[in-house]
Amino acid sequence: MLKKGLFFKNKKADNILVENIIFLVLNVLFFAILIIFLARQGQGVVLNEEIFAKKIALIIDNAKPDSDIIIDFSKAVEIAQKKNFDISKIVTITDNIIKVQLSEKSGYSYSFFNSVEANAFLLDINNPNKLIIVVREKEANKENGFDENQ
């Protein structure tokens, strides 16, 4: 007498089918996780924080004092808004360190070597697609009388 299975009356056939279904499901799950991981790598918070922090550092390094540089910041703002992060706090500059943060639990810092005072803020909070980077001479340099044109 053949025992009843889940799908077939033939238990052996039923076992083979169940094993194959599990095998296929595991494969699909595996590839789905892999594809999601790769997709997130390209659009990820972490990668964009790093890119923007380094971009701003290079801009400041290359800038002369009394420069104002405006860059397109829409991608960073878009990510921060999706993560419900305050867009006015995306970029902070302390001494010679830039920190770009696009979500509460992340952040990327990078340093620059130009001895200047630098600040960065959104050009217009109502249309926050542009970031302005303001580069000024350091107060210490001014007091000592250092002059770019010497």
């Binding site: 595991l26 790598q41 550092a57 390094d61 360190i97 340093s111 070597f113 130009n114």
Partner: protein, 172 residues
């Protein structure tokens, strides 16, 4: 009956082997993705380039070389407004930059003065990469520039700048 048992064991063995293959393929794909995106974010070459340009702009103004530099009374960091102090904890334990500034007599090629700041051992690492013709990711990234200039008396000089940026923890 015996044949069915052998086939079932073989089938189970193949399933385990299949997942090992999948794991190897996944590892290769993930490594490739990480390698690609880490390459995109390595900015040390650009930093070294900007640093060398900044020094040249500082030492030579309007085609005339700074006389204090020729005479040896030149503080590169202060005059060129460069700050090598590292506030990041990843870089706190060691210097991340190197500058080498040489001034040579343009006609004779004789070195008049040489100034170095930062990690002096980076010079050899730069040479090693140049000799191999290959950039080593774990080595500092280097940039060389040479510029012809004259002083206020019309004497001709060749200014050579070598800059190197390490910052491996944030770029590799």
């Amino acid at each position: 009956m015996g044949l069915m048992k052998i086939n079932k064991r073989g089938y189970q063995l193949l399933s385990a082997y299949w997942f090992v293959i999948l794991a190897i393929i996944a590892g290769a794909i993930i490594s490739g993705a990480l390698l690609f995106y880490s390459n995109v974010a390595d900015v040390r070459g650009s930093e070294a380039d900007i640093l060398s340009g900044k020094i040249i702009d500082c030492v030579i103004k309007g085609g005339i070389v700074n006389q204090e530099f020729v005479d040896g009374n030149f503080d590169i960091l202060q005059e060129c407004k460069i700050n090598f102090e590292e506030g990041l904890p990843e870089f706190a334990d060691e210097e991340q930059y190197y500058i080498q500034l040489k001034i040579l007599n343009f006609d004779t090629g004789v070195e008049i003065r040489k100034q170095e700041i930062g990690r002096i051992d980076f010079e050899q690492k730069c040479l090693d990469q140049e000799l191999k013709g290959k950039i080593e990711k774990t080595f500092p990234q280097c940039k060389r520039k040479s510029v012809y200039s004259i002083d206020s008396q019309g004497s001709k000089y060749l200014i050579k700048v070598l800059t190197a940026v390490r910052k491996t923890e944030k770029n590799v």
